[in-house]
Amino acid sequence: MTGHPANGLDDTVHQRVRLGILTITHEAGQVEFGYLRSNLEVTAGNLSQHLGVLEGAGLVTIEKGYAGRRARTWISLTKAGHTALANEIAQLKLLISQVETTEQGSGPAAAGDG
């Protein structure tokens, strides 16, 4: 692994919907399938696929239950899920700061003396 932060990005997490799932679940502690679907603006099938990937990677646990007669699916983060989210956020911040530093470093040269 080289020192470039892009190499530290995890393919499982580095994706809009999956990062969204981890972020919402981290913030909420536990979240219902319908809440994720409406906030991430994805179809139920698409969300199920992404949840399957995250569950397969051991980042979330999925629990099915009932609220009265209504079936409900609750999603929680595992310890590995919390770690993966923290790593992804740290890598993204690092990547952005490196890009900004590079842009600032090359900025005056590119801009010339005005």
């Binding site: 990005l9 909420a28 979240v31």
Partner: protein
């Protein structure tokens, strides 16, 4: 690491800002600030008749200048410890039920633990004060301040600060600071607080701040309570 082509949605800036936006939305959906404020306002107003019509305990100390007696009502020693614990149970239950109905969890444990600790500390201080009454009744002296610091109003103020932390709610921080100022700075218009018309003034002013806060937060948070499709 990846052989997939980068998609615009996976741009680091956009991913990070999207994550922050989602986290903010969850926090907003978890908030129900008006409810604890309403509960504390109701308890404060209810304490007025309890304080007036419940029994009193008199504790005296002999000083060289003569005996000094301080009266404590059942509101201080019985009503508030019980009311605060029940309030925390009601608030925690409300948050859990509401968040489950919305499909998003909420962290009530730190709030409930802090609430019970504050109520226990208040009871201990009230009992200690009963056994060791303040020597001077003046609201501006050091012991008057100590008495206010150990008051139910301060306990509610501390509970609001815990709620600020739990909800990460800056608007509530402003209200909590304003409320604590009302609690700690005596409003007597130069009169003794024990005079009948002024006796209930601190409770009325504190309850009013809480009630106005509850109404303001209920109105501010109302558009977020969108009906489920």
């Amino acid at each position: 690491m990846t052989t997939e082509a980068a998609r615009p949605g996976d741009d680091p800036h956009r991913l990070l800002s999207n994550a922050r936006q989602l986290a903010r939305r969850v926090r907003k959906d978890q908030r129900a600030t008006w409810f604890p404020l309403l509960v504390f306002a109701a308890l404060t107003f209810l304490a007025i008749p309890v304080r007036r019509y419940s029994g009193h305990h008199l504790t005296c100390r002999s000083l060289p200048e003569g005996p000094v007696c301080v009266a404590y009502t059942n509101a201080d020693l019985v009503y508030w410890p019980i009311a605060l614990v029940l309030a925390y149970v009601a608030i925690a239950t409300f948050y859990i039920r509401r968040s489950r109905a919305r499909g998003v969890g909420t962290r009530t444990r730190p709030y409930a633990i802090a609430g019970v600790v504050i109520a226990a500390a208040l009871s201990a201080v009230a009992f200690w004060e009963f056994r060791h009454p303040p020597l001077g009744p003046g609201p501006f002296n050091v012991q008057g301040l100590t008495y206010r610091l150990a008051s139910p109003g301060t306990a509610i103020g501390l509970a609001l600060l815990v709620l600020v932390w739990a909800e990460r709610n800056r608007a509530l921080l402003v209200l909590a600071v304003a409320y604590l100022a009302v609690v700690l700075v005596p409003i007597t218009f130069g009169r003794q607080q024990v005079d009948p018309p002024w006796y209930d003034l601190p409770a009325v002013s504190q309850g009013t701040v809480l009630l106005l806060g509850a109404i303001a937060f209920a109105l501010a948070q109302r558009p977020l309570r969108s009906p489920s499709p």
